[in-house]
Amino acid sequence: MLGWEFPPHISGGLGTACFGLTQGLATHGVKVLFVMPKARGDEDARFVDILGANQVVLEESIQLPRKTVVEERVEEGADLIEREIEVPVVLDTSDEQGQRLQRSFELLEVDSLLRPYSTEREYVVRLIERETAFPRPQGATVATKTIKLRRRIPWRRLVSSEREVDQEPLKRRRMLEFSGGYGAHLMDEVARYALAVEEIARRHEFDVIHAHDWMSVPAGLAAARVSKKPLVIHVHACEHDRSGEKVNREVKAIEQLGLDGAHRIVCVSHYTAGQLRRHYKLDDKKVRVVHNALTQKEQKERVKVEKAIDDPIVLFLGRVTFQKGPDYFLEAASRVIRVRPRVKFVIAGSGDMLSSMIERAARMGLARNVHFTGFLQGEDVERMYAMADVYVMPSVSEPFGISPLEAMALDTPVILSRQSGVSEILRNALKVDFWDVQDMANKILALLAYPALQEQLTDEGREEVRAMRWEHPAGLVRDVYTELVGAR
């Protein structure tokens, strides 16, 4: 089984669902090897073998590209320089004839090495020639004569050249680095995860590969390729659920590859299956719907909370983003307040719509009724649920949505959007279409007005939530495995 996270290191519902599922599968006698990007060693491994992709030693033979080599060498040589030069003819005045001749004319000599059109090099050559080869004879210069001069001048220089060469494939053993989160380099990490999983698939024996959400899709496909075993893709949310209209094309493309390559596609709700049908190419015959359940840890005992205010509290708890429908909650609030002015509406959470929600509440004249708590975590979440008289989940799009179950486990009655996966299985909750704010307000008012309705929903709801154990959905997943293995 390939998943991105596993308790205790979780940032969303995915890790919890993976844990619950493996726990349930264990009761059905299914042995699970759970591979996650980064195992820290403190994962809850009571029901599974946990393997971190970061622990896998990869023996790689990496074909490197052809390399450009720069070669340098020293070249030596000499230039042969030939010159015809004029040299002075010196009159020998040591004898009498010479002295007579000297008197008969006068020769003026300007000593210069300069010549027209000469280069510097030629000048230097001349200088050398004069000072070394031709010591001036004594005596008066009477004429010049041309002589031929040959001389070798040696040189040395450094020469570099480039050429492409094949490299030896690189053999190495290494372990990949993973953050295990959802950070900036998620796409790289997804690719590295696939690399590690491919290796794991070579080394382990198994019958089915089960990959959760798009991050595990490349890994699942790689494992299926090397092992030739059937692949189950488990869709907890698709890109259209996460991002609404601003879809990441790269992620969507990976999801589509998964849907194409999977032998079975398990969706967490009919709602999600519908989303896939609407936005992707999907072979309906491969689709199975298996709803999530609650792990024992999520089935908390009731928290006793002293409520300091008398006014009833209606709660929104979740990310304050378009997808979660906080604006519909405000609209319903304003309708409720017209009928019952003393009702408190609490928006707990943060998100990109928080400031606009605060402004909007003020504009609508609801500032005294609507309270914003910001982001809550840990026990505060439970206390908030327990304090509330009504929990509303007005989501515009919710593949599953575990929060109503948490509220119900704490005896808080729930109103939830029909545009959610969880509404398909929950019986003891009031359901509304998220856009029908009149109906939402009607149901909030009914819950506040009729104690029997609260009693009904909490009494039977508690039992219902308790019965939502992972054994049942895990059995359905096991059936999917059996179907796949049997077909081979």
Binding site: V339, N428, A446, Y450, L453
Partner: protein, 409 residues
């Protein structure tokens, strides 16, 4: 002789509008007239009219050897008068043959017998008057809503002059005894109790079109063979069921009409058997023994109790809230304002409580099929909102009656 007794229940409730909290004190139309009309006309067309025609033919063909009985709730009578008078006429035609007995029940198909016996009595009398007016004969056999019986109910029914009472042949009621005999409820001196043979009745009502049933397909001959299995001492076989079984719950395409058309001849093929009405059976057979009915027994669900209507907190709260305003409603009616009583009584129809039922799994499917609501909670909300408004109107009217009593009389 063993008598085969067909009794068909004919009932439609006044379903509520999607009445929200915001309608309270604003909107005084509680009932969804267009939906009620649509359903009534559909049922009349698919069931009442074709089935009445068929039964009339069978009665004429068998010259008194084929008989049936009906119980029509006051609400379905209202609806037929409003939206399908030809259907009401066809029932009157059947009654006029003398071979279709019309039974007594509560005027509004209520469960008042479980909460308020004086209201129960009031609804029985109102209904008996109306049946007498419409069909020319005062009913002598009583069937309570959903076949709910217990000893108190039986005693009251006896006191009101009925000679026969219909009930469910529940296993826990009968024990080792046979549903094919006439019994006398504990506490009664002359009332005859006729019980339903639920396996045989449900063969038609529930299983007839079920293709996964090992006896499918059911033919008139096969069914008659099962009827003929009744022992020679058996007084009757009670085949009690909803009339909508024919053409509505089981569509015409299943062959249900042809199946039914074949039953009289197939059953009568053995001379020991004949068709009779409950009143006939009560007149001709003596009770074989007493039957203790300490707790209410109904014909619903696997439990055969009243948990389908009063089993959960919502249902009990709704029922309690309804009867809490009953005295004031009666007071107003006595002072001349009967409109609110009619509204109240329409709310007393058992269907409203049935829609709030949260029993799921095997029975829940049946409940869901009959409910106009998406969930039992939605049913409760609409009902309570309406009741809230009715409560306000009752209080307003009471105040004005007390202030100006002369205006109301």
């Amino acid at each position: 002789m063993t008598d085969v007794v067909f009794y068909f229940q004919v009932h439609q409730p006044f379903r509520l509008r999607r009445y929200t909290f915001f309608d309270i004190a604003v909107e005084d139309r509680y009932f969804d007239d267009s939906e009620n009309k649509r359903i009534l006309q559909r049922v009349a067309e698919r069931c009442y009219l074709p089935m009445n025609k068929l039964i009339l033919e069978l009665i004429e063909k068998h010259k008194g050897e084929f008989r049936v009985s009906y119980s029509l709730s006051g609400t379905v009578l209202d609806q037929m008068e409003l939206w399908a008078p030809e259907a009401l006429e066809s029932f009157q035609t059947l009654a006029a043959t003398g071979y279709a007995e019309i039974l007594g029940e509560t005027s509004h198909h209520s469960l008042s017998s479980l909460t308020d016996l004086s209201e129960f009595e009031g609804q029985i009398t109102t209904h008996a008057d109306r049946i007498e007016t419409l069909f020319g004969k005062r009913p002598t056999t009583f069937r309570n809503t959903e076949l709910v019986i217990d000893e108190k109910i039986a005693s009251l029914v006896e006191r009101l002059g009925f000679t026969a009472l219909l009930g469910e042949g529940a296993d826990h009621l009968l024990g080792w005894r046979n549903a094919h005999h006439v019994y006398r409820p504990e506490g009664c001196t002359k009332l005859d109790l006729l019980l339903r043979d639920y396996p045989r009745a449900d063969d038609i009502a529930f299983r007839y079109s079920n293709k996964t049933w090992d006896q499918w397909p059911l033919t008139a001959e096969k069914f008659a063979r099962w009827i003929h299995e009744a022992g020679p001492e058996d007084a009757f076989v009670g085949l009690f069921m909803d009339y909508e079984t024919f053409g509505e719950h089981q569509w015409k395409e299943t062959g249900i009409f042809d199946f039914f058309a074949g039953i009289p001849a197939a059953v009568l093929a053995q001379k020991r058997f004949r068709f009779r009405t409950p009143a006939d059976v009560a007149a001709e057979h003596e009770a074989v023994g007493r039957l203790a009915i300490p707790r209410p027994v109904s014909w619903a669900d696997a439990e055969r109790d009243v948990s389908a209507w009063l089993g959960n907190p919502m249902q009990r709260a709704a029922n309690e809230a309804l009867y809490a305003i009953h005295p004031q409603v009666l007071e107003l009616a006595a002072a001349g304002d009967k409109r609110l009583l009619e509204h109240w009584r329409r709310l007393s129809t058992s269907d409203h409580l049935y829609y709030m039922c949260t029993k799921h799994f095997s029975d829940g499917e049946v409940h869901k099929y009959f409910s106009p609501y998406a969930s039992p909670h939605d049913a409760f909300i609409a009902f309570m909102n309406v009741l809230d408004d009715l409560d306000r109107r009752v209080k307003q009217a009471t105040t004005s009656v007390r202030a100006h009593p002369e205006k109301q009389s």
